[in-house]
Symmetry: C2
Subunit: 559 residues, 2 copies
């Protein structure tokens, strides 16, 4: 008998549920629910563009609707019945914490708090907590440097403690009213499992380790003394958060009778602990030691794993090294670029005032250019730098333009800049002993932009493959659910076996061209000069050759 699991993927604007066949990973049905609140699901504040909140009611309604609709679609297929669904997996954005009451209910769904933005979910890209983040970094540098070492050296305004502390500052009533706080990644599985006491919630180590400075080495979350240096109320909160966080081989619970009834599924099937989309996405893309999974969209998330039996150094400039955050018994390493697709979109839509047609035209024209031919070099920091430098106050740069520089020249230079940014991350992790032997890409850009993929292959010198699934995050969640069901329950004995059965790459792959690689090596050296200089790694750089070297490379393409 065929078996299936459901993967539920909470994105920034919508939630998607898919039904996946355990034997081969095929997605047999899917449904997407767009969050109705705010602008494309995000509550904004026109007076503060740093603010980005979400309505937890959207999450709950989206859970019910998307799974119900996906099952309805699946039921149209011969041989499918709800009885064959053996587990559910959940991945979400993050760090997206929300305040909850003593019964594990979001504060924001109570009439008392529903109009207070601070009582809603603080979406990953909410940047209102910049000041708190800086202070956490400073206090940790002084008193707990080990906390920072695990998250690249800088604590971000996007992360858990920054957000909670900012809430305490701007909305002390909300903070006071909250019994505890929970990541959406932990909230959804607990909801499905009918867990009503926050202390019973199995929290995922992915959010805990990468965003909340949780580590088994120092007994979990940051200690009370440290938290009290931030604010004594944060220290008080520690007891009402969690003592332990879990990796993907742990059940968050089992499907409650109530939710099983809504869906027409068997109650008691296992539910995964929740993890971030990129991390379960890495599983869905077939991550293993030596594989870099790149999820390329508006920004990128780069995931790698190293067996936890190996000694691994702290790597300055990556967003976290957390035992079990991707695969159980492996360190999960996360890095990323703060803007990729967003940079192309900015150039096309704002600078060129164009649309999808211009995207296509410039892609075609840029494809006809050779490496070096534009004479341009750019930095990919229009939205700051998230890895290697970890500095949101960096900005973009374009260099080498003449009076003849075209839109296509610039477009290609921007793609190349993001490729150089990708290489900087690869170089950094390899310097610290993490091998990168192949790269598997997911996300819309990876599927639709062969020019970008070839440039990435040429710049990194590494073969670029594309994940077979277009929904690797939801697929990864479904894979983990199949492992929790176990071989005897119709699933798989372990994640590696499940990946072998359920994941794959497309036939079309992108192999480095050695002549192009040689030119990009020279351009990358120039990129690093700018990167290290403007990024503050090198206190004094020699720029005198930069423009001339670009001209020499450009002249060289005329032969």
């Amino acid at each position: 008998m065929k078996t299936y699991t459901i993967g539920v993927d909470y994105g920034t604007n919508s939630v998607r549920s898919i039904v996946v066949e355990c034997s081969n990973g095929h997605e047999i049905a899917a449904s997407v629910y767009d969050y109705p609140t705010g602008e494309q699901g995000i509550i904004l504040d026109k007076n503060d563009h740093n603010l980005a909140r979400q309505n937890p009611a959207d999450y709950i309604q989206g859970l019910e609707t998307s799974i119900t609709e996906a099952l309805k679609e699946a039921s149209k297929l011969d041989g499918f019945s709800n009885d064959q669904v053996i587990g559910l997996g959940v991945d979400t954005t993050g760090s997206t914490p929300l305040p909850i009451d003593q019964n594990n209910r979001p504060l924001a769904i109570s009439p008392l708090w529903k109009d207070n933005l601070s009582a809603h979910a603080w979406l990953w890209k909410d940047h209102t907590s910049a000041e708190e983040a800086q202070r956490i970094t400073a206090i940790a540098q002084a008193h707990r440097p080990q906390y920072l070492a695990k998250c690249g050296g800088v604590y971000s305004s996007e992360w858990f403690w920054s957000k909670l502390w900012h809430c305490l500052v701007v909305a002390p009533d909300v903070f006071e009213a909250a019994y505890s706080w929970i990541e959406i990644a932990d909230f959804i599985p607990a909801l499905l499992a009918g867990i009503t006491d926050p202390r019973d919630v199995k929290r995922g180590v992915c959010a805990a380790g990468h965003k909340a400075m949780y580590c088994d080495e120092w007994d979990g979350l940051p200690d009370k003394e440290f938290l009290a240096r931030l604010d004594p109320k944060l220290a008080d909160l520690r007891d009402r958060l969690y003592q332990k966080a879990y990796s993907a081989d742990t059940e968050a619970g089992r499907l409650s009778v109530e939710w099983a009834g809504k869906f027409g599924l068997n109650s008691g099937i296992p539910i995964t602990v929740g993890a971030f989309d990129a991390h379960y996405g890495a599983i869905g893309a077939g991550v293993q030691e030596g594989t870099l999974v790149k999820i390329i969209g508006t920004s990128t998330c780069d995931c790698m794993v190293v067996p936890s039996t190996k000694k691994i150094e702290d790597i300055p400039g990556v967003c976290g090294i957390v035992n079990g955050s991707i695969l159980p018994d492996f360190y999960g390493i996360e890095a990323g670029q703060s803007a990729v697709g967003d940079i192309f979109k900015w150039f096309i839509e704002i600078v060129c005032q164009g649309n999808e047609t211009l995207h296509q035209t410039l892609t075609k024209e840029a494809s006809e250019l050779k490496p070096g031919q534009s004479g341009l070099l750019a930095l990919d920091w229009n939205n700051g730098n998230r890895s290697v430098l970890i500095d949101p106050k960096l900005s973009g740069l374009l260099l080498g333009q003449t009076l003849y520089t075209t839109q296509a020249d610039i477009y290609r230079a921007l793609i190349e800049a993001t490729a150089f940014g990708a290489r900087a991350i690869i170089d950094r992790v390899q310097e610290f002993g993490v091998p990168v032997k192949r790269i598997v890409c997911c996300g819309g850009i990876a599927e639709k932009n062969p020019l970008l993929m070839q440039i990435y292959a040429d710049v990194t010198g590494c073969k670029m493959q594309v994940s077979a699934s277009a929904q690797t995050c939801a697929l990864g969640s479904a894979i983990v659910a199949s492992v929790l069901a176990g071989e005897s329950g119709g699933g798989h004995p372990n994640i590696l076996t499940a990946q072998q059965k359920m994941t794959g790459v497309k036939t079309l792959e992108f192999t480095p061209n050695s002549a192009n690689k040689a030119i990009y090596d020279r351009l990358y050296r120039l990129y690093r000069t700018l990167h290290d200089g403007f990024g503050g790694i090198q206190p004094a750089v020699d720029l005198s050759n930069v423009m001339k070297d670009l001209m020499i490379l450009k002249e060289g393409t005329k032969n």
Copy 2:
């Protein structure tokens, strides 16, 4: 009785003749003749975008047509007759040399050579001689450093000897067939004066000193030993060029009976020695000690004068310091920016694919931005750098862009970049003791772009005035002609008196805003960091604060 002089201004695409009233400088008539050969008067080579030649026949026909038409227009006015014209002045582009035969006729007008591009006039912006320019610089550095010191330290591919040498290399037959070479600035006055022996031509010191390394200190043109190091044939040519060059108080000759007959003018009226458009333009804009005249167009030319009784040091990075090149008995100092209007045109037309309407829209939007608000900083080197650094191999740069940076942000940053470039020149000459007390601007941009003018005032801290005449170059030629005619001949006793009568500035002037100046001082320091680093003046620069300082300035504009 009213008296008049004619100013003839040879531009890049056309020649303009104007009839000017000596008592007040009013332009009473004008006519423009567009050169018919090539693209907008320029002969191009689709295989070599460095090549730019002109047909000397266009110059001759243009001389006849434009003066004839201007006089025809003047004759419609009451009280004007050709008898009242008391002199002719000529200014031209340059260095624009052409090969001539023993009778002072352009080689290119003979049937034998008319199809050979090397036999035509080598327009100022012909860059085919880059290699020869580099070799001249190297040879002069080794053997005659004093030659370079007078022209800023680098000999340009746009200049006289580079072009002649390149002709010798690529078209030895043309070089062999030429008896001598002449700048168009010297050719036109000699033509009007009926001079048929090249040795009798009075050459202007402007072209000689700024472009051909002529200086009285070393007995005129470069010596034969030096020229022989380039090529013995250039040394041989020296005797067939000229021994002495003259400033604007010298007649090139008197109007020949033949040309007087064509125009219906009196023969024997004085003709000025020819000078470059910018230099006679400086006179037409009222240049005197302490005044910087900026001719702002696609690029800029900046002219200043210092009494030759004063000791003046060589100034590294200016395009020349030549005794008498602008005003007699003053050192003429020339500097310039290789692209100004051209950068805005590139951004609007190529990057934004817009037109004049977009120019206007962005000007309006950019006017609403405060200094620092864009968060951007640019370098104005899309066409290289002509002054301070003198390096054609530099290129443009834009820095500070985010995902929200608009077209207007960039447009304003580009204007600011050209203002910073202008300030770098002012700072340089002032460091070497040349005072800049006021700035008079001419050219289309100065007249039409109040936003740019205000930014220039705020960046330089100097009041910006606009020349009353829209045709300062032709006016300057007419002024010099009125001085040659002399007070007794209905003209003026000297140039200063003539300037007082015949030049002026518009009522609208631009005064620095001190708050803006303070912000631009900070931006200018960042500009200099990039300028000195990428320009190679500083071997090691600290860039770590650049992007952050821009963000701080941007944040500051929100208050």
